[in-house]
Symmetry: C2
Subunit: 348 residues, 2 copies
């Protein structure tokens, strides 16, 4: 089959690799229908996170079950499934607590000659890991694309909102107008029901999409003084803040925006945060919550919102390419020509 392989900085290639095979009795083989390129893929693509040439790429995919091991109970050949961005056994303490990213058997697709930007994937603990699509979801291209966002960005944006303790009727600020930030806005406005949703970004086109997703106010932080303006207009800061950029300026802004007693969540591994300002956390009694999303916990409830057409996160994909053009997809994201890229294998 074909799979995307990292070969060096800014060099990913679709290559011929062996077909995946069942290895453990709980495994499933899934043929990929759609895969996505993640903002976090850019870290290895740009050489910031050191990767070895030969590693497989991609952790966001949806597909069709091709084959199941003898222990798999809930899935059968032909089922359309959504894969969260890590696998999880579904039975450990952390899975039962809906914290599947801390599963004692958690694996990341990039490990072990596996990857989602490919024609097929071996899925460990298939019963615990995969979520069956609601029947009919696969037949609607927009809903199918939305299903792909549940693998990561929509679940991650939603987790940011949940982790920031956002209550219905609340005011929330989302810093970042990338796919995750946009999905956080969508979650706040349409899933949780926040009343005032403040979106902060750098790109007016993306901020327009934030408005379409339910932001009640948008700020382009290329201007100076945005944080102070928001603190003033909220009369003292925002109770729930989602930091969805991961650099020093955005983290500083998040802590500046936080209202005393509030919560800041951050939904990506910060790569350029030199120093976290602990003093405002302390003085304002603010909680900072790192928020690697247990997507597995959110896929089912969010899928219900997609099927009911309350949310349409598919709009974050503004570049659709065939899997063969995966390298162009990476380049488009790297050069910020695309918010997020969807790859189609041609299977559906």
């Amino acid at each position: 089959m074909k799979a995307t392989v990292y070969q060096g900085t800014r060099d990913v290639r679709l290559e011929d690799v062996p077909d995946p095979v069942l290895r453990e009795p709980g495994d499933a083989i899934v043929r990929v229908v759609r895969a996505a390129i993640c903002g976090s893929d850019l870290w290895f693509y740009r050489g910031v996170t050191p990767w070895e040439p030969g590693e497989r790429t991609g952790h966001e995919f949806i597909g069709v079950v091709e084959e199941t091991g003898p222990d798999v109970r809930t899935l059968r050949k032909g089922d359309y499934v959504i894969a969260p961005f890590v696998s999880s056994d579904g039975t450990c303490e952390f899975c039962r607590a809906n914290l599947q990213t801390s599963c004692v058997h958690m694996t990341n697709w990039g490990d072990d000659a596996n990857g989602g930007q490919a024609e097929a994937v071996r899925v460990p603990y298939a019963d615990g890991t995969l979520v069956k699509m609601t029947p009919g979801m696969e037949a609607d291209p927009r809903k199918l694309a939305s299903a792909l966002t549940l693998a990561d960005v929509m679940s991650t944006g939603h987790h940011g909102i949940v982790s920031a303790a956002t209550a219905p009727g609340a005011t929330v600020a989302v810093i970042g107008d990338g796919a995750v930030g946009l999905c956080a806005v969508l979650s706040a406005a349409r899933v949780v029901g926040a009343e005032r949703v403040i979106a902060i970004g750098h790109n007016d086109e993306r901020l327009a999409l934030a408005r379409a997703f339910g932001a009640t106010e948008t700020y382009n932080s290329n201007r100076d003084g945005v944080a102070q303006e928001i603190v003033e207009s909220t009369r003292g800061g925002v109770t729930s803040v989602v930091e969805a950029v991961g650099n020093q300026a955005s983290m500083d802004m998040a802590l500046e925006l936080a209202r005393p007693g509030g919560t800041v969540s951050f939904v990506g591994v910060p790569h350029n945060v030199e120093a976290l300002p602990l003093r405002p956390l302390f003085v304002k009694n603010v909680a900072l919550r790192g928020a690697l999303a247990p997507a597995r916990a959110y896929i089912e409830p969010l899928m219900a919102h997609v099927m009911a057409e309350r949310i349409d996160p598919s709009r974050v994909f503004n570049l659709h390419l065939p899997l063969e053009e995966v390298a162009q997809g990476y380049a488009a994201m790297d050069e910020r020509r695309a918010v997020k890229v969807m790859l189609a294998t041609g299977l559906h």
Copy 2:
């Protein structure tokens, strides 16, 4: 009257200063009965936090109301009162939310030629700030000393436990065997009712007091490998961790101890934390909550525990001195000869 004045690094002196007078209609003048020296006082004493010569010292005191302004409704001359370590108006949004440290009229005693290590203090917003002692508390020397801990260290230790989301029956770890860490242990064991209370410190004598306060296990972290031992013995970490030291090693240990999904609170401004490890916060979905204690919120409930003899935090004072010997008290804390010093004015 006499008041303690900062004159330079490791130089505080009891000096003659003008008597405090009522300035605003909500003020009260309180004659000090007992005052304490706080671990955080050592920051200016050692020259780490820059102070100007002439500034008044002390933010922990209890006393007797001497005089009240015309707007004071709940207090009268002769009332025994506990002063939290900051003043608060009692009516703003944050006071009503029991976050009095963020009161819009908050003042710190050290400001404005006022200080608690003195014979008298002008208390702004006296109705909002001061808590009347339960009758009889002043008559029992141990309970009077416990009342003084409620001004700061006992309330701060308790806030650490509350901010770490410690539930009855839970396992909690407290890093630090200073007065605040010891009070956190007492809160966990006797106020909140944690089942397993792990105390970590450097000083075996203080750790023995931690056991007396209800610690079920103590670890001297002068030994290597303590954090790994605790992670193993708890099978994966501790859900609620209180960091009560404020240096890099203790913050690193707190994040290492934290169980996925758990909370780390820190109860002092960290002075020697260079870099906060954000990756474990993120990967483990741990919340970090800075926790400047709204002591005002806790004094009444904790006073009930003192009066019922469920807690006796007075034991953190292992050096009692007359106010005249305040300089010796600072030296004893600086040289770690005392956990915490109580100063008596001779008024009671």
